[in-house]
């Protein structure tokens, strides 16, 4: 299946063989210049010797402008991984290529400069300063850089307007709802206009209904801002809604990287299959995921947008339509269609999952 | 001037007793003389009187409130310039040490007529007719009145606080009296007990001293003490001396004040009158001492005249 984004991707953040180990002497195990590391053997040895390998040999690229979701259950190492990427924790081994340097070994001064200008981060429990108002919280990163009061507050107001919270600028975090607090958190992380945006389970602390609203809000923002995003979640539904690509983690290892459809339709192993079983494929799989070259045959159904869930085509299929033209794909690409046959194949899998005990 | 002073210090000690003709400089009159204000009202009166007289002579005076024991350290360091009512029977262990080291100087008696010994509230004479003789304390009936659960079968004797030493216990042992000495912890505790005993008519025998304001309030008798087994401070209670003490640098810094303090005297009668006024709230420390100074120029004027010429 073609991947429209992977066509000519510019790598924003490149991560190679990254290790993060907790324990007494984690550094001791990586003093192996010149040797190649056998990941599985080393992880076993670390565990046997009282260490906890939280991230094991992680390698992936995050492309410019994409939403890269790292997903896993709690304890899978996803939060540790993003903390290593943002250098809130120091990884033991590997490289993190960002902006032409190895972020893993960047000095304190460089790191502060990068964080001030090129990185933003949103936290699960918001991390707002309780003594500052919403406006002051958003202006805080600018204040740290020494931006003048009028200028930073104007920018902060702009950011609050962006997250539709402009009218609550004077409120303290304790006076805001969870969803509103996280909007402030998002506005703050965007105040310095970063290139790379980390979101560590930003919506997990929110009620399901609010979470849904915030996801929509987030997608709206991303359409507008086109940031490069690393998004952490334990919620497969959320991952499938938001992700351009998903990295699935288990026990510190990345076990599969792919688009939501790839993960859902061809899981790398039974763990991933079990994990994704809950997802209603009819809603998660989009038309674009099943699109194929038109190859001359003409569509008999109505044209559909690429990001429509296949569910939406069921009435038409029930009426006997077989082929639908796909619109809104990559401009200039060949004409695409989606067939009732491929859609029904997916639905059959859904039905099998549902029938399982 | 410094030289004359340095020379003068030793000479003054020798000469000052001779006559009132000895004249001295005021010295550092713009630097305040710091007088100790100790806890008990007698000492506070003496201090105020001395201070007022020094002020009449043209000195600046500051009063430093201080505890009796710790204040000797202050005297030795010069933080306190003088202390005019030092009871030599109750000086702790710093005083003899710094006196021997020459850091402080004893400049003679304050002139109080003192007393020390065993007292009892007057009503006890009805209960133990043998009082005030010490023999009364051998009488089982009398001792039985003094007995408490702590001291059974002995009678209870209220001694000075433990940190003042326990001479009473020694004398009780010397005479094999059926008494147990109980340390009182503090002066306040002794006064409180004496008051309570007089008020509730509970028998009490205790160690005490005069002049003391409480003796104007509570009617007490002094026990005629048993003969001393040894003529030492431990075994024999005598009326204590009350002296004036100054910091060793005093004479050099304020020569005239030194002479004035040397001559300074307070009589027991005067002090007791003022203590009583303080005790029944008819006057403040300030007002009673001011009154004394106003009324007794004939007494203090010669001190100043002798010191400053």
């Amino acid at each position: 299946m073609p991947d429209p984004i992977a066509a000519a991707p510019k790598v924003m953040l490149g991560c190679r063989n990254l290790w993060k180990v907790f324990g007494r002497v984690p550094g001791y195990y990586f003093d192996t210049a010149g040797y190649s590391i056998d990941a599985e053997a080393l992880a076993n040895r670390l565990r046997a010797e009282g260490h906890i390998p939280a991230v094991i040999d992680a390698s992936f690229d995050v492309h410019e402008g994409e939403i890269f979701v790292i997903m896993g259950l709690s304890g899978s190492g996803k939060s540790t991984l993003v903390r290593c990427l943002s250098r809130l924790q120091d990884a033991e081994h590997g490289t993190i290529a960002f902006d032409g340097l190895n972020l893993r070994t960047a000095g304190a001064r460089t790191l502060i400069e990068i964080r001030r200008n090129k990185m933003g981060m949103v936290f699960q429990s918001f991390g707002l300063l309780p003594h500052l108002s919403a406006l002051e919280n958003v202006a805080f990163p600018l204040k740290l850089q020494g931006v003048g009061r009028a200028m930073r507050e104007a920018r902060a107001q702009e950011m609050l307007d962006l997250v539709e919270l402009g009218n609550r600028a004077g409120a303290l975090p304790s006076e805001l709802s969870g969803g509103q607090q996280q909007r402030v958190g998002i506005a703050r992380s965007l105040a310095t206009d970063p290139d790379l945006w980390f979101l560590d389970e930003p919506f997990s602390a929110l009620d399901p209904l609010i979470r849904r609203q915030m996801q929509d809000e987030f997608l709206r923002l991303q359409r507008q801002l086109k940031k490069t995003i690393v998004f952490i979640t334990h919620d497969i539904m959320e991952a499938c809604r938001l992700a351009d690509r998903i990295a699935l983690m288990r026990g510190g290892r990345i076990i599969q990287i792919g688009t939501p459809a790839q993960i859902l339709l061809s899981p790398a192993d039974s763990y991933v299959a079990d994990f994704t079983a809950e997802v209603a494929l009819s809603r998660a799989i989009r038309v674009a995921d099943l699109a194929e070259q038109a190859e001359g045959s003409c569509a008999d159904g109505m044209p559909v947008k690429a990001d429509t869930p296949i569910e939406a085509l069921l009435p038409a299929i029930a009426e006997g339509r077989q082929r639908f033209a796909v619109t809104g794909g990559t401009p200039g690409a060949a004409e695409m269609v989606v067939t009732a046959q491929s859609i029904l194949a997916v639905l059959r899998r859904d039905a099998q999952h549902a029938a399982l005990p | 001037m410094t030289r004359t002073l340095a020379l003068g210090t030793t000479m003054l000690v020798a000469l000052s007793t001779l006559s009132a003709a000895v004249a001295a400089d005021l010295g550092a009159a713009n630097e305040p003389i710091r007088l100790a204000m100790l806890e008990w009202s007698g000492a506070q009166i003496s201090s105020q009187l001395a201070g007022k007289v020094l002020e009449k002579a043209g000195y600046k005076v500051e009063y430093v409130t201080a505890g009796n024991y710790p204040h000797f350290t202050g005297l030795a360091d010069g933080d306190i310039s003088a202390s005019v009512e030092v009871w030599l029977n109750n000086v702790g262990e710093v005083f003899p040490k710094v006196l021997a080291e020459g850091k402080i100087e004893d400049i003679g008696t304050l002139g109080l007529t003192t007393n020390e010994g065993w007292i009892y509230p007057k009503f006890m004479e009805d209960l133990c007719p043998a009082l005030p003789s010490w023999e009364a304390l051998k009488d089982p009936a009398c001792v039985g009145l003094l007995a408490t659960p702590d001291t059974l079968p002995n009678g209870r004797f209220l001694d000075y606080p433990a940190d003042w030493g326990s001479r009473a216990a020694t004398i009780i042992a010397d005479n094999s009296l059926p008494l147990t000495a109980v340390p009182s912890g503090s002066e306040g505790a002794m006064i409180a007990e004496l008051r309570a005993a007089a008020s509730a008519k509970t028998p009490l025998v205790m160690m005490f001293w005069a002049p003391h304001f409480i003796l104007a309030e509570v009617d007490v008798g002094w026990i005629a003490m048993p003969p001393c087994t040894e003529d030492t401070n431990e075994h024999c209670i005598k009326a204590p001396d009350v002296d004036k003490v100054v910091w060793s640098g005093f004479a050099e810094k304020w020569p005239a004040a030194y002479e004035i303090l040397k001559a300074f005297r307070v009589t027991t009668e005067d002090q007791q009158k003022m203590m009583l006024a303080l005790d029944n709230q008819s006057g403040t420390l300030e007002s009673v001492t001011d009154a004394w100074v106003a009324e007794n120029e004939a007494i203090w004027k010669p001190w100043i005249d002798a010191g400053v010429n």
Binding site: H131, K143, T192 | I80, G92, D150, P183, S186, A200
Partner: protein, 688 residues
């Protein structure tokens, strides 16, 4: 012997072993007296060693100390001069405005009323002098405490050391370190001020450590991701977020400093409240000491409400009830008023009217003493014979026709042993623990606390210390006990423990009952609250005089004074514990048909056991802290030793006696705080 449902645990076996050992040592002590009383020959000149070790250090540090003294005194003098210069109406106005700005209307009214009361009582000047001491002591303590707390936060390895030091600073009797401070800083208020700083720093350090450590990791991470440099991270994220906790520290530090300023007077203060209290104590004037104590209470309540009000405002961030500009205008008005009054030469201070009222109070007290003497003598005798003599001398020591109506014949001894064994067997039917406890009680009742074999004491305290604090606590306990032994202070130490133990028993019986009652009745609770506040903030000296008048010089009066001070924690904690029991459990029990009595004993008290344990801990600490004060009414324990050392200016002797008292407090605190939990040094991963 053991009930099959309740098998003895390893702890029970240990205590059983210790009981058997103690019994054997008690018996053996009849033939080998060195097992029983600490051998008199085993003495070492510990206090001389302490002098030899510390005096050169003090001598060396003396120039530094002496050079800071003028600075401290200059600052103090300036503040004092300012406070005394301002006429009281202007000062009251200014303080009220600040209270209004910082804490709101209610605190302002409180400030006005309490300050007017101070004026009315006639202690305005003294109160201002005391305030000057607090205004020097508190900022010093806060800055020092914050610095040390931040250091401990930064270097977690130092934390156990710093916390041990704080414990010692809070339990070491101030009277014991007055002499070293005098040596270092010379005679004057500076030494006393620093003594109060020593006592007031620990709460600030503790709150700083807690506050800085409790800042959520995500806030720190978010600030780090915003590009904060380490300094910015600390000052702009960590400290502001920890501010409410730091202000709680400020509040506690202020209260601690205020409770210690009395000490300043002992080594040379000036015309302040502490001096007034000491003089009143010396002259046994209850009215005056009560009035000056009341002034301290008023100041304490005001400072407490103001500092905690500021702490609360910092959390809520409400708009202050008075705008900044109006505040400035008000303060200017106050300044104008001050100048005006000064120029007019009006002090407006009331005369000594209130003081003659105090005098009447004394006369009433004397009348009351005369009227009630027989009743109080009865009470005193009942407690002395029933509780104190048995615990001090034991049955074996006090068995005389006068006390028990019998003498100690072999038959009586045999009878005692038989009764004791019978009770133990009876208790064993309940649980092994009850049997062991009964055994210990019987043995203690036989020998009395001070007569308990020192070898057995060492073993028991050692085992308890080891179990609750590991080798560190064992070392501390052993050092305290052995130093007491070889300095010839074993008996005074046991006297101290005995006095505290009796006081704690009485406090728990009375205070626990009051706490239970207060938990049932809101009205009683409302009555008790201000009494508790007053008992805890009243300078401890004030309790001594009425107790003396009623009960005479001696241990019993000391006991009453200790009980008056230490009874507050059981009332407070028991009430709080019972009131905060989970309502669902109470409802469930009521639904099961529990009677109110069953509810109390079988549901609420067991559920409140944490609060009860805390109450026990706090009661013991309060009792130990009163030891030195209680010595002023004539006791023969360690507190007295501290005074003797003070009068002899013997630094070493005071430090040794103080160390033993601090050891008692520290070991008791640790043993009572976590009797069950094994020592754990859980280290939390420190996040950036």
């Amino acid at each position: 012997m053991t009930n099959d449902r309740r098998n003895p645990t390893s702890a029970d076996r240990l205590w059983l072993g210790l009981l058997v050992l103690s019994v054997m040592l008690t018996i053996a002590g009849r033939w080998f007296p060195w097992l029983s009383g600490f051998p008199t020959g085993w003495t070492l000149p510990v206090s001389q060693w302490a002098n030899a070790a510390f005096l050169p250090i003090f001598e060396f540090a003396r120039p530094f100390g002496r050079s800071t003294t003028p600075v401290i005194e200059a600052v103090l003098g300036a503040i004092r001069a300012g406070l005394v210069w301002i006429p009281w109406p202007a000062a009251v106005l200014a303080i009220c405005l600040v209270a209004l700005r910082a804490c709101g209307w209610r605190v302002m009214v409180l400030a006005a009323l309490s300050l007017l009361a101070v004026v009315g009582i006639g202690y305005w000047a003294q109160a201002m002098n005391t305030l000057a001491l607090v205004l020097v002591s508190v900022p010093t303590s806060v800055v020092l405490g914050f610095g040390v707390g931040a250091l401990a936060h930064r270097l977690p390895r130092l934390r156990p050391l710093i916390e041990a030091l704080l414990d010692v600073m809070q339990t070491y009797p101030a009277f014991a370190y007055l002499i070293p401070l005098l040596l270092l800083f010379g005679f004057g208020p500076a030494a006393g001020l620093l003594a109060s700083v020593v006592f007031a720093v620990p709460p600030m350090v503790r709150n700083t450590i807690v506050g800085l450590g409790a800042v959520p990791a995500e806030i720190i991470e978010s600030a780090a991701m915003a590009g904060a440099r380490p300094g910015q991270l600390f000052w702009q994220a960590r400290v502001p977020v920890a501010l409410p906790q730091l202000l709680i520290g400020l509040n506690q530090t202020t209260m601690a400093a205020l409770s210690m300023v009395i000490i300043v007077a002992i080594i040379g203060g000036f015309d302040d409240i502490g001096w007034e209290i000491l003089s009143a104590m010396r002259k046994a004037e209850m009215g005056r000491s009560l009035a000056s104590g009341l002034v301290i209470v008023l100041l304490a309540v005001l400072l407490d409400r103001m500092t905690s009000g500021i702490a609360r405002q910092s959390r809520l961030r409400r708009a202050p009830p008075i705008a900044g500009r109006n505040l400035v205008i008000g303060l200017l008005l106050a300044a104008l008023l001050a100048t005006g009054l000064k120029l007019a030469g009006w002090t407006l201070l009331p005369g000594d009217g209130a003081r003659s009222l105090f005098r009447h109070l004394d006369l009433w007290l004397l009348d009351f003493v005369a009227w009630s003497a027989p009743a109080f003598a009865l009470l005193r005798n009942a407690i002395t014979y029933g509780l104190m003599l048995p615990m001090r001398l034991g049955f074996s020591g006090s068995a005389s026709p006068m006390v028990w109506g019998l003498t100690l014949t072999p038959a009586v001894t045999a009878g005692y042993v038989a009764v004791a064994l019978g009770l133990v067997v009876l208790a064993a039917r309940r649980s092994p623990r009850a049997a062991v406890a009964t055994g210990f009680a019987a043995l203690l009742f036989w020998s009395g606390l001070p007569g308990f074999p020192w070898t057995a004491t060492l073993a028991i305290v050692g085992a308890a210390a080891w179990r609750s604090g590991g080798p560190w606590l064992l070392g501390l306990a052993a050092s305290g006990l052995l130093i007491a032994g070889v300095s010839g202070l074993w008996v005074p130490m046991m006297q101290s423990i005995y006095l505290c133990a009796v006081a704690v028993v009485i406090c728990f019986a009375l205070g626990g009952a009051l706490g239970i009652a207060a938990a049932q009745s809101d009205r009683l609770s409302a009555v008790l609250r201000p009494i508790n506040d007053a008992l805890q903030t009243m300078p401890q000296f004030v309790f001594l005089i009425p107790a003396l008048m009623l009960f005479k010089v001696g241990e019993f009066t000391a006991l009453i004074a200790i009980v008056l001070y230490a009874i507050v924690p059981p009332i407070r904690y028991v009430e709080h514990g019972l009131r905060t029991v989970r309502p669902d459990v109470v409802e469930a029990s009521r639904q099961m048909g529990a009677t109110p009595w069953q509810m109390l004993w079988q549901v609420k008290l067991p559920l409140a056991s944490d609060a009860v344990r805390l109450a026990l801990n706090q009661t013991v600490m309060a009792a130990v802290s009163m030891l030195v004060i209680a010595a002023l009414v004539g006791t023969r324990e360690l507190g007295q030793e501290v005074y003797v050392a003070l009068s002899k200016a013997d630094a070493g002797r005071g430090l040794v006696a103080g160390w033993i008292i601090a050891c008692i407090a520290l070991v008791a605190d640790r043993v009572l705080r976590r009797r069950r939990a094994p020592p754990s040094h859980a280290t939390l991963p420190e996040k950036t």
